[in-house]
Symmetry: C2
Subunit: 384 residues, 2 copies
C-alpha cells in the first residue's frame, strides 16, 4: 500500500490537470451517503444555507431524525433504516437532483435515482460479493414476428465457460417501460444469482432477460431510435406480438447456449406487464414451463378490467396448462398493489377450478423492492 | 399505431399509480435538451425564478446565445453547436445537478454527466443506428498474478455467433480511474465498431476491454469492495502487475473466443494510463502486436518525469520491438494535453533511433472527445 500512496501523491497533479481538461470533477473522497451499522443513514449535500432540501424515493414515507447545516453542507439523518437496497434523490427548491457525491444510480423508465445498501439480512442477496461470478451477455436475435434484430441479456452461471454440461433456463421478463436491462440493473438479478448459486441455495442456471417491449428493439439509446425518452405506456402492445413470438427467443437460446431441453428445465417469471407476459406465454405453451412466477402480474384477459370470471376460453386454456400442472406456479403481490383486485379475481377463478398454485401476499405495492425479494424467494424453488 | 394510443390511454391510470408506488416520476414527454439541425441546443430546467443556473461540461467554454425564464422553466440556448457527442450538467446555485429530463448519463471516474448528440459528420460513428449489432460480454478470468477473478468486457462482431471463422483481436485499455466499462460506456466503442464494420471501413474484429486497475478486480459496485467511490490515483500501480500479467488476458481470450493467432492479428491501444500500458505491454512482447495505438499516452519510464532521453534499457527494448517493426504504431495527442511534453521527449527518442511511427496532434486536451475520435480513426487501419 505504501507504494500506492507514493504513486497517488505523484499523480495528484496529473489527476487534477486531467480532470480539469476532462471536464470532470475530482473523485469524491468520502462515500455518501454514510451508512452506520445501527441503520443511521446520513445524506449530505453542498447547497446554499436556507435551500429547501428533502430526500425523496425510498425515504418518501420516512421522517428525518435530524437536519442540520454546517460548513456549507446540509446533513439529513434518517435513523433505524432496515437492511436493504434503497433508491433516493434530492429535491432542492423543487428541483429533482441526484446526489453529486454518489455515482451509483439506476434508471427506472425515464427517471434516474441514486442507490445505496444498508447491509444485513434484508440485503444479503443484493450486495456484490467476492463469490464466483457469472457472465452477462448482451446479444441480438433475429425476429421475423416482430421484425428486425432485438436485444436480450443472458446470464450464464460461474463455470459455464469451462464446463461442458447443460443448464436449465429461466426466462425473466420486465414490466411496462422496462427493457432487457431492467432485471440486471434495477432488479439486482446478477448479484442475486451469483450469491445464491455460490451459497448453494439456488441451482446454477442460465437466465434470459429479453426486451418485452414489442415497439422497441432494445433498451433506450441502443438502436436507430436514438436517445429517446422511454415511456411506460408505449411498451404495452395490444397485439401481443412479444408473447406470440416467444418461441423465437427460446429457439435462439437453445441454439446458442448449452441448455437442458424440456419442460422440467424451463422456468418463466416476470413482473407487472412481464407477469402478464409470463402468464400468457406459459398458458399458450402448456408443455413448455414447469416453473411459473407471476410477480404483481397484469393478468389482464379482455381489456383492462377485472372481467375474467370463469371465461370459458381462459378456463379452457388453463385446463390444458394445469392438466399436466407446472411443478411450481407462484403468484406474488403486495397488499398495497393496485393490481391486487385483478389478481384476487384471477385467484378466485383458479380456486373455482381447483388449479394448484402458491400465493404470497407481501407488504408494499407495485415496486422494485418487492420484485427483488420475489425473485430471491423464487429462484431456490427452481429445477429441484 | 392507433391501437397503441388506445392502449396508452387505458394504461395512463395504471402508469400513474405504478409510478407513484414505484417512487418514480412519470416519463418525460419531451426529449431534452432539444437539438435543432442548425446546431441550436436548448437546455430546460424547472427551478425557481432567480436561481443561478449554468450549463457545465462540454459547454464550459461556450457562452449561451440566450437565457430566459417562462412558466417556471429556465431555458438556456447555445447556438452553432458542432455535430458530435457532448456531456454536460447543470450548476444550480452552486449545486451540481444532472438534467432531470434527460435519462442519458455516463460516469467518468466518480462523476456522472448527461450526454446528448448533435447529429452530423462529427457524430456519425457515435450514434446508435439500425445496423447489424455485435454482442457485448462481461466475463471473468482467473488471474494468478493479480490474485482472484477479474472482469473484462468483450465485443464480438455481428455474425460471430452464426459463423465459424476466426477473428483478429484488439485489446483496448482504459485510463486512470477507468475500468472495463469505460470504452464501451464513455468511449462509444460498441457504436463505433458496429457502425464502421457495417459501413465496411473497419474489419470485423473481437475487441477486449479488460480492467487495467491492478488494485480493483472490476468496475465499481461489481465486487466485494461494494459501492466504493472510484478514485483515479488508486488505479496506478507502480509494480505494473497489470502489464506484467497481460498474457493471462490473452490466454483467456484465445481459449474462449475464435481468435486468429499471431502478431499480424493482434492490436493493442489505450488512452492515458492505458496508453502507457499499451506502450509497455507491446514493448515487452515485441513479437505479439502488429498494431499499437497510444492515445494521450502516459509513456512514463522512470518515475513521473520526462527522463527517458535515450535511456539504454528503454532504447534496447524498443530496438527489439522495432527490428521487426509493428505495421502501424500510432501516437495521438491533443495540443493542449498536459502529457504533450512527455510525448515530445518520447518522440524525440524514437526519431533519434529512427524508429518509424505515425503521429497525430489534434486540438483539445486530455479528454474523451479526443479519445473517441482517435479510436474511430485507428480502427480502419487495423488488420489490412
Amino acid at each position: 500500500m505504501k507504494k500506492v500512496l507514493v504513486a497517488m501523491a505523484l499523480y495528484i497533479g496529473v489527476s487534477a490537470a486531467a480532470s480539469a481538461q476532462q471536464n470532470i470533477s475530482l473523485p469524491v473522497p468520502e462515500k455518501r451517503p454514510t451508512v452506520e451499522a445501527n441503520g443511521d443513514v446520513t445524506f449530505t449535500l453542498v447547497a446554499p444555507e436556507g435551500s429547501d432540501i428533502s430526500v425523496k424515493g425510498a425515504f418518501a414515507n420516512l421522517q428525518p431524525a435530524s437536519v442540520s447545516f454546517t460548513d456549507g453542507e446540509h446533513r439529513i439523518l434518517f435513523s433505524g433504516v432496515e437492511p436493504g437496497l434503497y433508491d433516493y434523490w434530492f429535491e432542492v427548491d423543487g428541483v429533482r437532483t441526484l446526489d453529486p457525491s454518489n455515482p451509483y444510480v439506476a434508471r427506472d423508465i425515464a427517471s434516474l435515482a441514486n442507490i445505496f445498501i444498508v447491509p444485513g439480512e434484508g440485503s444479503k442477496w443484493f450486495e456484490s460479493k467476492d463469490v464466483p461470478h457469472g457472465s452477462v451477455h448482451q446479444v441480438w436475435y433475429e425476429s421475423e414476428g416482430l421484425g428486425g434484430s432485438r436485444r436480450m441479456t443472458v446470464y450464464t452461471p460461474a463455470g459455464y465457460e469451462t464446463s461442458t454440461e447443460q443448464y436449465p433456463v429461466l426466462y425473466l421478463l420486465h414490466g411496462m417501460g422496462g427493457d432487457e436491462n431492467a432485471w440486471s440493473e434495477l432488479g439486482r438479478a446478477v448479484e442475486i444469482l451469483d450469491n445464491q448459486i455460490a451459497a448453494g441455495v439456488t441451482k446454477p442456471m442460465i437466465v434470459v432477460m429479453p426486451n418485452g417491449n414489442a415497439l422497441r428493439k432494445a433498451a433506450p439509446g441502443c438502436t436507430g431510435d436514438g436517445m429517446y425518452i422511454p415511456e411506460g405506456q408505449h411498451s404495452v402492445d395490444p397485439d401481443r406480438l412479444f408473447e406470440k413470438n416467444f418461441d423465437e427467443i427460446i429457439g435462439y437460446v437453445e441454439a446458442n447456449y448449452r441448455v437442458k431441453p424440456g419442460k422440467e428445465n424451463r422456468a418463466i417469471a416476470g413482473l407487472s406487464m412481464g407477469g402478464g407476459h409470463s402468464w400468457r406465454i406459459s398458458m399458450e405453451r402448456p408443455d413448455s414451463f414447469d416453473y411459473v412466477g407471476l410477480f404483481s402480474p397484469a393478468v389482464r384477459w379482455n381489456g383492462m378490467g377485472v372481467n375474467m370470471e370463469n371465461d370459458p376460453e381462459l378456463v379452457d386454456k388453463l385446463k390444458r396448462q394445469f392438466e399436466n400442472a407446472p411443478k411450481f406456479y407462484l403468484i406474488a403481490i403486495g397488499k398495497d398493489d393496485f393490481l391486487l383486485p385483478l389478481n384476487d379475481a384471477y385467484r378466485k377463478m383458479l380456486d373455482d377450478q381447483r388449479f394448484k398454485y402458491e400465493y404470497v401476499e407481501s407488504g408494499g405495492g407495485h415496486e422494485w423492492r418487492n420484485w427483488r425479494d420475489y425473485l430471491a424467494d423464487f429462484l431456490p424453488k427452481l429445477f429441484n
